[in-house]
Amino acid sequence: MTSSTGGSMPEKQPFKQVFGYPRGLTERPTHYCPGCMHGVAHRLVAETLDELGIRERTVGISPVGCAVLAYNYFNCDMVEASHGRAPAVATGIKRARPDLYCFTYQGDGDLASIGMAEIIHAANRGESFTVIFYNNAIYGMTGGQMAPTTLVGMRTTTSPGGRDPLQKGAGYPICMAELLNTLEGPFYIARQSLLSSREIIRAKRCVKKAFQLQPRGFTFVELVGTCPTNWGMAPIESRRWASENMLPQFPVGVFRDREKEGDA
C-alpha cells in the first residue's frame, strides 16, 4: 500500500498510508453535525464491509432518524425503511435472499420506541442480519425529543424538566442489549461506545464480529454515541458527558456470543 504521492511532506521518503478512506463509504460529505458520531459508526461498518470483502454482496437499511441519508453514504446497495421497521424490512430481504449480507442501522427512537415490536420479533426469530444500533439517548433528527434511552433527569424538548419517571411517568431508560439478551433467538449481542479512539477500536471489533457471525443468525451491536447538537454541548464536552453519564446506564460488553458458547 505504499504510494508515491501524498500531502506536502518535507522529504521524499518511502511511506505507507496507515489510515484512509474506506471503500465502503461513498465520497459524499455527510450532513451530520460537527462531532456527531454517526460518522464514526458508519465508518466502522464500511471498514468491515471492506475487510470482509462483502461490500458488493451487502444491502444496508437506513432508518428514519438522523441517519436516514445513510443510503447516500454507504457504498453498497441501500434501502430506506419506514420509521422503526428496518428489522421487518431486513427480514423481507434476508428471507428472499439469504445469500446476501444485510444490516440495519438504527437510532434509539427508531429501534427502541416505535420499532420495539419489530426488533424484538426479528431477534426472536433469529433473522440473520446485523443491527447497528446508534444510541444517543435522544431523537436527533426531529430536534431533541426524549427517547426510550434518555437518562433519568436528562432534559429534552419533550422532557423540559428532565426525564421524570416518578412524577410524570416518563419511564426509565431502556437497555436494549440486555432486553434482547433475554430472548432465545439472537446469536450475538454486544454494546460498545464511541467516546474515544480506544473505545472505537473495541467497537470496531464487535461490529466486525457481528458481520462475520451474521450467516449464523441475528447479530446486534449497540453503539453508545452522542448528539452534541441536541444535548446542547460542544463535541468534546458531549463525549465526556456521555462517558460519565451514559456508560453507567449502558455498560459496554459482549452480552451473548453463541459461537463462544459453542452453542450452535
Binding site: 511532506m9 518535507p10 496507515v18 462531532g35 460518522g39 463535541p235
Partner: protein, 77 residues
Amino acid sequence: MNNWIRVDRDRCKGCELCLESCPEQIIELSSVMNIKGYHFAVQKDADRCTACRLCAISCPEVAISVFRVLKKRQRAS
C-alpha cells in the same frame, strides 16, 4: 520520525475530537474557514506524529488520512 496526517479540509467540521484524541497534542484548528464555514484541523508539529491513527479513528468525518514513514526493515517487506 517523520510521519504525518492529511486532513481533507473541506470535509472537516472543526469538531476538535481529533485534537483531543491525539496523544501528542499536535493538532489544532486553522484560523481560516473552509468552504462550509468551519475552522478545520491542521497538524501543527508533524515531527512528533507517531502515526498512531488515534486522531483518524476519532474523526466522524473520516477527514484524516495517516501516513507512516517506513523504517528500513519495513521498507523491505
